[in-house]
Amino acid sequence: MASRRDFIRISGLGIGGLAISASGYGIYKNLAGTPIEPSELKVDITRTPTYCEICFWKCAGWVYKNEEGKIWKVIGNNEDQHSNGRFCPRGTGGPGMYYDEDRLKTPLIRTGERGSQTFREASWDEAFDFIAERMKAIAAEYGPECFALLTHGSGGDYFGTLVKAFGSSSIAAPSYAQCRGPREVAFQTTFGEGVGSPERIDIRDTRCLVLIGSHLGENMHNGQVQEMSDAIDKGAAIITVDPRYSIAASKSKFWLPIKPATDIALLLAWIHVLIYEESYDAEYVEKYTFGFEQLKAHVRTMTPEWAYGITTIKPELIRESAREMANASPAVIIHPGRHVTWYGDDTQRLRAVAILNALLGSWGRRGGYYVPEKLTVPSWPHPEFPTPSRSWKDAFPDQYNLAYETLASGICDATVPTLSKACNFKGWIVNGTNLPKTIPDRRKLIEAIQNLELMVVIDTMPMEVTGWADVVLPECTYLERYDSIRVSPHRKPSVALRMPATEPLYDSKPAYWMAKELSKRLGLEEYFSWNSFEEMLDWQFRQIGTSLEEMKKIGVKTFDRSYDDLYFHPGQDMQFFTNTGKIELYSTDLANEGFDPIPVYTPHEEPPDGFYRLNYGRAPMHTFSRTANNPNLTDMMAENAVWINPKVAKIWGIENDQYIYLENQDGIRSTFPVKARVTERIRWDSVFMVHGFGHDNKKLSRAYGKGASDSELISRVHLDPIMGGTGMRGNFVTFKFEPAKKEVES
């Protein structure tokens, strides 16, 4: 049927029917667009406030129930600065997480080998007794400091309190060393403050948004995507640097199709153009920065022509895009990215980004980086935490001094005993993070786990990490529980309430309840001395001038800023939290630690013949690996595909929608085949996949075997010497057409 016609590729699979009857309920706006005042709304018993837990953006919204009292839909809260009343596709698909019948239903205690996913059901009492007993044993033999918490999610609050009360300070979120860590350190050493979450960028009012290492639009940072749309309406220019033609690239004035791993060269060339064409914000630089002369000397030879040879981006394009930024200054944002652990020199790359922002004067200015404010909400009184005698940092003497948060990969490394020292960690609590798809180098992760004497996993779904646990505790979804007040930094300080829309399904429980119950068995109840969680929430709300009852009706309360300091005032004197008190273009911190004080371009390994760099990213309808089983979301995207350039596909004889296997440079082949998407949107030296698929736990009925796992293929890790970030984009894959042969059993 070949002809000039286009033909459709449908990327998704359907499953059985699920029909619920419902009626509609009114919401906020009429067609003219004026919001209805909160006082006009009745206290609607079928609508409860919550904030979403599907990703870290924590948009506040409303959960609606139908006439039968079952969860119907989740929509945004108009008052919320994160969502502005509009949820993203994952948030809107929240009910799927609740209705997913593959959810963990009861506590489980392992009966088979670690990784074999064989458990027996247990009662909560039995599970808690088991955990407490082992924890006490570890504390007795090795010390309570040998206990660590790896967390991503609201439960981290309570388990964090528990672990700190227990006597350890080793609490890590993988989102640091596996994700945004380098940019936090880079911005901290430059501006004295990190970027934070949500990122403090003023996209709404910007005139030029530079995305280098961000595929906004495919990654669904809700507020940022919304503001990018506003910026487009206002005629802002977008500049995208990406080897792939991302959605953002398609909306950009300039798309720089960069050769992978050469970003620092481009950034330095841009800095060169701004300095030597004198289009940087001279007044700002003069007043607020330190190290300009060193920077100028450093980039003297880093011309666009020099960068062209490295990045394959034409010099005129480098100059034009730099001029576009300069014209927009100070309402220009060089986006700090989010997942920036790529090649091992990521802190330096983000330093270049920070320096560029500083030269353009965007830090602290409208349309650039605003100054966020976060409310201070007192915590429920508890006794002081004991001081641990050692921490995870002791496993890495003299390393990562600039890392201000704990490295999850560091804890993992420190769990493996080495020839020179006994290992540091004997027990882990893993809350809401699927480690096998998060920590690169699976072999090391598994080695670490095998050395543990206790591994507790708390999750809502039977993700891969649950297979390695000694005890699995089923958490109920965010729609079924209270949680700590959401206190986020933003243009205005605000708080949001999460309350349950319905009782927990099956035998699942909220994390705060689990922590409190465990504390009883560990003699640490004084740290959880509230009688009910509602009591604690109400107390906290009253401290800031509201109450639980009011919050139940409004969901989000926004306060005015304490000072009018959203942006710097013109001519205002500023002190920055750096050694010199100024924005450090030349970083004294880095110099002190023996690292390059100004970023230097170092070439990185290129793919060998027949191999292609493995680039991974996001799709707007999924979050990491956690939504791969959500029925609403798999309905849209059930599996990922590997993007291959048509020239490459032709060489290999690969056709669109053909299933192939990927094998990386270390001979690791993907467990499952993945569909090939032959598209012009990807460069010929790389491939692209959406992260989070290729689940190998059969209990995930919709996700099992769908697509391939990029994490599996990330075996080579490039450690960032400055803060321990694990660079994951130095892996290369080739194409195979058969599954890996299983090893013959002897």
Binding site: G14, G17, G24, K29, M220, M228, P620, D635, R683
Partner: protein
Amino acid sequence: MRYAMAVDTKKCVGCSDCVVACQTENNVPIGYCRDWVVEVTNGTYPQLEIEIRSERCNQCSNAPCVRCCPTGASHFADGGIVLVTENKCIGCGACINSCPYDARYSHPGGHVDKCTFCVHRIKKGLDPACVATCPTKCMYFGDLDDPNSPVSTVLKNRKFTTLIPEAGTDPQLYFLM
């Protein structure tokens, strides 16, 4: 009164929020969808361009599905919205075959289903679920006969197309270029 919807392809990022929102709002069974997002890429690396469209039933003014329905289940309602009366539908599938946009589907309950412009919401003065949830605010809805409605305003100021106008159905879903 003539309801219509406009989608700004310049701002749409293809997130498919409109699809999930429709599914939860209208209890569309899992495995079915009333709307979908199409992504068209043209060109050769690196000279490329992308157009993204959120598509659904076009609520055509000259709807073939209404014309060919043997029982009158498919009918025009207020504002030109095409609706299906469930207990008149016999599930013959003629309307499904008559739609050049493949916008209709056979609901597991036996009748034929499709986008209704969330008629239950617009009666209360709200936007359809997809329009209300779109994070990029690239969707506009309203009454074409009201010059101040969001859709009329945006159609006045922007270039737009419809899908396969040559099919003669007079679709009321506009794509802003």
